[in-house]
Symmetry: C2
Subunit: 357 residues, 2 copies
């Protein structure tokens, strides 16, 4: 099978450049026991290391002096999708033999998908699939903004069904594609809908880096542009009880800013590892004096989820403390792991069944 | 402005990793005169070159020993979108500071967009925009196949309008996203529709690497799975006069195989730099004895477009010669340039206004 794949790669690695341009190596190669071999062809490099979100620190790879291919096999890994990159003489590069890239503006990691024996909540399964539509809208600054819109299986744009809407926001250097391409939000929804565990809903994933740290410009777009765009173009329920907002990291901070400052718009506000050290958060919540009873009666869910070893755990905990001290009904969940998209998938799969019930 | 951008990058290059992980450099930087500066931070590298589809061969970059940043400025470039990569001590890497990547399975080039003063046919302009929807279907091998479907501005899934359909196939190591992300097929269509130069149509862009060199497996899927999927899920015209097939490189070869072997299905068959050195092409056309009158009366368009310096020009010309010798009405267009997506955009913008008239 490996030889077939190698031959295939050589012949198919054609396309724009029909002749394969580099020694063809297979990387990453996930073995049946979930151990993984990573390979990188670099005859002249002095050192090549593997940097992953699987192992706590970069590990040296070994060079085959006859082929010039560096490789390492790491022990069995818990099935999930993990970012990694190579450090080649100290320079970080992604894996040229792996199509699967992390969608991000600040770094370019490759991803390895350890599928395991049983389908995971984010796995592509043989269930009805929703669609993802790339839409555009005019931002408040008169730019063309991008939105990804997940519609559930069986969606009929002109049918009688009206759907609730989740607004799902990426992290600070991510893109509008990170929640689908890395976070697998569409497959998680497909699978949970197929199991009858969540309500069919529309999930809106906007590009959110329209202002520094997703502060006011993005919030303005969300309220004045994105929600109106969705509500005039999709068959959706438009009351606050059928609107949720959720986001990760800087997008989690934006979720708290936008969600809690617009109680008339959102009944569900769920932040994943929210990064809240921003002037906007301080302006909103520094001397906040909320009508706690109104918040607690109107919010069907206010939650903060975070990994216990998240590098921003103190910042996240400061937000937890703030909202608890104010007397808000805040649900928290602490799980193993860090500020990762492995946890984002878990957080989303935990949230979706709780929305719009 | 540059300082603002730098600051922005440092602060926003956060997201999953909130702290910027590398020296923040701007690359590529397109100057007002369309010259371009490329930069790459690699203090320990011995040599860094820039490899582009702008210049005929890689050029050495110079290192600033104080910052460790390598850079080069190239003279003004004709506005277009060009692939490039860096060769760092002989290892090809994409530009870590550039979000814009070439969607491809075999290589990972970055793209630089030289916008110029006037909007180009592929530029994002202030016109109504269509949408791109990511759909899935079951392939003949019972896998989940991916399709991108462009619907034009004003599209109404349940309206009275029925649309003609263009099936648009990528090159051999490209992906289903290459025609939109690199070829800008959606923006080209948006712009031509806004100018009244083409008929609003649905454009279907399937992932086509389902068989070696897009041979029989993909053709079977196209006829038995993809067309039926589109026709049962979208409001489309289903007669041959309202179906076109077009593709680039290996996808151009597939276009000729699928289009000409299924005259009952397609009235428009347009190949861009078709790569035809495949067993399937030989089997189909090696001893081909077509009903030339039927082909010439039923095909509203059979065309082959290619760049004069395409590295496969001889292979393309062998197909041109074959079809001309058989007596088919073949339109050809030879333009400057090579086997590139700069030319693909030109070819598509030339084809679209001619379809379904």
């Amino acid at each position: 099978m490996k030889n077939i794949l190698l031959t295939l790669f050589i012949l198919v690695s054609c396309g724009t450049f029909l002749i394969a341009q580099r020694p063809s190596v297979i990387s990453p190669e996930v073995h049946p026991d979930n151990s993984v071999t990573f390979r990188f062809s670099a005859r002249n490099a002095k050192s090549v290391s593997l940097d992953t979100e699987i192992l706590p620190k970069p590990v040296e790879m070994a060079k085959d002096s006859s082929t010039g291919v560096w490789s390492i096999t790491i022990p069995p890994v818990k099935p999930d999708i993990y970012p990694y990159s190579f450090l080649v003489d100290g320079i970080e590069v992604n894996d040229p033999n792996n199509t699967y890239l992390f969608a991000n503006e600040g770094f370019k990691h490759s991803l390895v998908d350890i599928k395991g024996d049983k389908p995971l909540v984010h796995s592509l399964q043989n269930v009805p699939h929703g669609k993802i539509t790339y839409c555009s809208y005019q931002t408040a600054q008169d730019r063309t903004g991008t939105l990804l819109i997940y519609t559930p299986p069986g969606f009929d744009a002109n049918g009688k069904t009206k759907y609730p809407v989740l607004y799902l926001i990426h992290g600070g250097s991510d893109t509008e594609e990170t929640w689908t391409k890395v976070g697998k939000a569409n497959l998680i929804a497909d699978n949970l809908i197929a199991e009858g565990k969540m309500k069919p809903m529309i999930i809106v994933m906007p590009y959110a880096n329209t202002g520094l740290m997703m502060q006011s410009a993005f919030g303005t777009d969300m309220i004045n542009k994105i929600i109106p765009y969705v509500e005039s173009n999709y068959p959706v329920l438009t009351d606050r009880n059928n609107r949720a907002i959720t986001g990760f990291s800087v997008g989690g901070g934006a979720t708290l800013n936008i969600g809690l400052m617009n109680l008339d718009k959102f009944a569900y506000v769920c932040a994943y590892a929210p990064y809240v050290q921003t002037p906007e958060f301080r302006a909103n919540f520094g001397n906040w004096n909320p009508d706690v009873a109104a918040y607690n009666s109107q919010l069907k869910k206010l939650s903060i989820y975070v990994g216990e070893s998240d590098q921003y755990i103190e910042i996240v905990n400061s937000a937890v403390k703030l909202f608890k001290e104010k007397g808000l009904n805040l649900e928290t969940m602490y799980v193993p792991g860090g500020h990762t998209w492995m946890n984002c998938k878990l957080f989303l799969a935990t949230t979706l069944p709780q929305l719009f019930k």
